[in-house]
């Protein structure tokens, strides 16, 4: 069982590493979106500090939406996904493996670099820590929820944007609690409450999302 999970994760990690440049794109996108705002809004530090949590979180959300498209699409196009449906392994496990690899490649780097970006917006030490934590809890949830959308839209002529349409409404709670936790910390109210809620969402999606995504995959391949 674990052997299978490991194989899937390793396979996807190796594939990602073979395209090292691809690996950087999501990160790069994240950094760029965050850096564009000062350009578009203007350089006043007080405004920037106020909008910082929101901007970082929206950028994280968009970056993970962007990456989602590639979660199943390549496997679908070359037929390896079809073969996964035909293996004697529980599909939800394979899906979980793919999501895990996907998060390691796209979500984790983004989490790690976020304090640096927060610093640019003048956030304080404690706030940065909460930002890091909220992203650490939130981005896996985004990947998990997004996987459902990615599975549903597989092979459809809607493409990536349809995924966003389906998934973004579902991820809004993550966004609200995530940015809420940082804002609450910044304004001295303590962000623990929000972080607990984020954790709850993560656990829930960890249990439900692979199953839903597996069902969606079976439907999409019919």
């Amino acid at each position: 069982m674990f052997e299978i999970f490991r194989t899937v994760v390793m396979r996807d990690l190796v594939l990602a590493l073979r395209r090292r440049a691809d690996l950087m794109t999501v990160l790069f996108f994240f950094v760029i979106v965050v850096s564009l705002f000062p350009l578009a809004i203007g350089p006043e530090m007080s405004t920037l500090r106020m909008i910082a949590p929101g901007v970082v979180w929206v950028a994280a959300l968009l970056a993970s939406m962007l990456a989602l498209e590639r979660l199943f699409a390549a496997d679908y196009a070359d037929g390896t996904l079809e073969q996964m449906l035909l293996t004697p392994q529980p599909l939800a496990l394979l899906v979980l493996g793919k999501i895990a690899a996907h998060w390691l490649v796209t979500g984790l780097p983004l989490v790690l670099i976020s304090p640096l970006l927060g610093l640019q917006y003048g956030l304080s030490g404690e706030t940065l820590l909460v930002l890091l934590f909220s992203l650490l809890l939130g981005t896996p949830a985004l990947s998990l929820i997004g996987a459902i959308g990615a599975a549903l839209t597989l092979g459809l002529r809607g493409g990536g944007v349809l995924v966003s349409l389906l998934v973004l409404p579902l991820t809004i709670p993550v966004l609200i609690f995530g940015s809420g936790s940082v804002e609450a910390t910044a304004s001295g109210m303590g962000g623990e409450g929000h972080l607990y809620l984020l954790g709850a969402i993560l656990v829930m999606s960890l249990v439900l999302a692979p199953l839903a995504a597996a069902t969606a995959l079976r439907i999409s391949n019919e």
Binding site: I145, I148, L152, L162, L165, L166, P169, P173, E222
Partner: protein, 250 residues
């Protein structure tokens, strides 16, 4: 008990449901017309003027029923979709897809009337308030459902995919709904309490209830009409539709 069960299964087949839906739809339409006539008359001429908000408040008689229906219909739609996914009954899936456009239009009406109302009340068409935002998200959930449905050619596959989406979305609805608690909100809270005093004038309340019932009847009528056309389209290969077309009943 068992005879009732049989009855239900009988109506879960499109061919027997089709004429039934016609009857339900017709009578709902009649009820809608009557209730709307009464309700609109009362809302414009009978209900008293609000002492705080003047005449403009009368939009509430459209706004609130639409908002309620939009939320209720989503849950109903998800329920039908889930039934269809689990038991593989064709009719439930058709019901779900018949409800989606109605729900979306209700959400749209609630947003539109709310925005219209907001301009005189708050001095802005739109504020980023929890209630308003959650209604907007609800509209997006409906639109996502419809977009997914129209993006998949094979209707059976579309039904099943949409069912997954609707079910996942329904998990999200209470979360969005309770986010009100973390927000300070400009929008009115619940005025109609099931227990305890209602802060509303009884006449206003009656009018509102009549309008709500009218909206109910309308939604049922429209959903039935739509499900009938969906049944016809999807079952066009079957003999019963063929016979009906031959007899000129469709």
């Amino acid at each position: 008990m068992s005879s009732r069960l049989v009855n239900w299964f009988k109506f879960s087949s499109p061919s027997t449901f089709y004429p039934l839906a016609g009857k339900i739809g017709f009578w709902s339409m009649v009820v809608t017309v009557v209730l709307l006539a009464v309700g609109l008359y009362m809302s414009f001429f009978v209900a008293p003027t609000d002492y705080k908000q003047g005449e403009g408040y009368r939009i509430i008689y459209v706004h609130v029923p639409a908002a309620w229906m939009s939320m209720f219909l989503y849950v109903l739609m998800a329920g039908w979709a889930a039934l269809g996914l689990v038991f593989n009954t064709r009719l439930s899936a058709m019901m779900a897809s018949a409800l989606a456009p109605t729900g979306a239009s209700m959400a749209f009406i609630a947003l539109w009337t709310g925005a219209f109302w907001g301009k005189p009340m708050w001095g802005a068409w739109w504020v980023w308030d929890a209630r308003l935002t959650s209604e907007l998200i609800l509209l997006f959930l409906y639109l996502g459902f419809i977009a997914l449905q129209s993006a998949i050619d094979d209707p059976r596959r579309a039904d099943r995919a949409c069912a997954v989406l609707a079910i996942v979305g329904v998990v999200n609805v209470p979360i969005i709904y309770y986010s009100v608690i973390w927000w300070n909100t400009l929008h009115q809270g619940a005025t109609i309490q099931i227990r305890g005093e209602s802060s509303m004038d009884p006449l206003m309340l009656t009018t509102l209830l009549i309008m709500t019932l009218a909206f109910w009847a309308y939604c049922i009528a429209v959903a039935m009409a739509r499900v009938r056309s969906i049944i016809l389209e999807r079952e066009r290969e079957t003999t019963w539709v063929g016979e009906m077309v031959k007899e000129g009943r469709a």
